[in-house]
Symmetry: C2
């Protein structure tokens, strides 16, 4: 954790000593009374926290916030066929660290239906991974997230025309970097492990998405996500 | 594993039943006598294996190899300040999957010296991670690897002039994608967790390496490696 994130309504309250952030401050960062650390308000400013008082059951912290919030996230949305939870955890952290604006994990026809029922999604654990990636990047802005929508349902929520690219190793005419729409794209769509159904491919084409691949080597989904986002950011001179 | 790798001297011998590949074939891929699977010879051809006979202590396999070997690896070498072993494991797999030609894990002045003594390096465990990434990518070609050399020692082994880029968030004038030498580069150098020493930066500059960064967000080393390799491959139209 390169900074410690707090929700806005936690700022004025003492931090319970059993909170993982208190443990991190005291045992990993080894902060003592009077010491400072890098802090952030979720979707708000960055700043410094100062440890004012160490009570048996809580910590008192003073915050001094920078006037300007961190820079905005990249204008890129990812839609991803629901992967196995262990893969989703990695993607949540990586995509948040890279700074994408929104993440949508969608149900797909050939995807494993049980993945949508994971405690990752229903316990709210996903939020912890987004926060972890965001704090890693020294940022406070969390990507927006949905899970469990269908691909068609998600596409209906996006403003038309959709400037998007579907990453698909089977049907794509060329690599992502050569894709003529990459400069205008605002959406990358990644299929599930077993690929898209023919109906879903039709749907993507019908909504104007263009197909592209990431080369001839078979990559794990989390590697493909980082690679595609890096290529997007590089096209914009941001990486 | 998208294919199962065998060393050339294993091809003509039965596969012991307790070998992890035998277990994978029988219990994950659920192959029975007469079934085939995707196989590869380390640094050699790909092909099909056919399970001929299942003895109590070994498997007999027939191999049918494709005439042409898989395409060459990308002409990119990575030199990386020795990271904590858990990070190195991820990088070994990711870089092998992405298809870089060589990986050198170097000792650095500010790096944690004990990382070089990890069993990862001394038990040969590193090779398993390279094989895992290579098999993931449906390839047989393993990157070359060294570990424990110093940065200066490594640079001495590379043919001059070194067309390389040092990824450095502190001293770089601009992002990797805008770096004027990216099309000619054959080497990316990544610093250790605590960064380069001033002497190492001088050394890199003296050998003609150019500095570039990967944006303002602080990325984990394994994320930075995937991002930089993706940008390299995209510049060559390979991704």
């Amino acid at each position: 954790m390169n900074l410690i994130l707090f929700h806005p309504d936690e700022i004025s309250r003492p931090l319970p000593r059993q909170d993982p952030r208190a443990q991190h401050l005291l045992t990993v960062l080894r902060r003592r009374v009077g010491d400072t650390f890098d802090a952030g308000q979720t979707n708000g400013p960055r700043g410094k926290g100062t440890l004012l008082h160490l009570a048996p059951d809580h910590l008192q912290i003073r915050f001094d916030w920078e006037p300007a919030p961190p820079p905005p996230l990249d204008p890129l949305t990812l839609a991803i066929g629901l992967p196995r939870p262990q893969t989703a955890r990695k993607i949540l952290q990586e995509a948040a660290a890279l700074g994408v604006q929104a993440l949508h994990f969608v149900r797909t026809e050939k995807g494993e239906a049980s993945y949508a029922d994971s405690t990752l999604w229903h316990s709210g654990e996903w939020r912890r991974h987004l926060e972890h990636g965001t704090a890693q990047a020294f940022c406070t802005r969390l990507p927006a997230l949905t899970h469990g929508n269908t691909l068609a349902g998600l596409l209906d929520t996006l403003p038309a025309p959709v400037h998007g690219i579907a990453l698909d190793n089977y049907e794509a005419p060329g690599p992502l970097s050569k894709c003529h729409v990459i400069r205008d794209t605002r959406l990358f769509v990644f299929g599930p492990e077993r690929g898209w159904s023919e109906g879903e491919r039709e749907l993507l084409r019908g909504r104007g998405l263009v197909f592209a691949h990431l080369g001839t080597r078979v990559l794990r989904l989390e590697t493909a996500v980082v690679a595609a986002v890096a290529i997007f950011k590089a096209q914009r001179g941001a990486m």
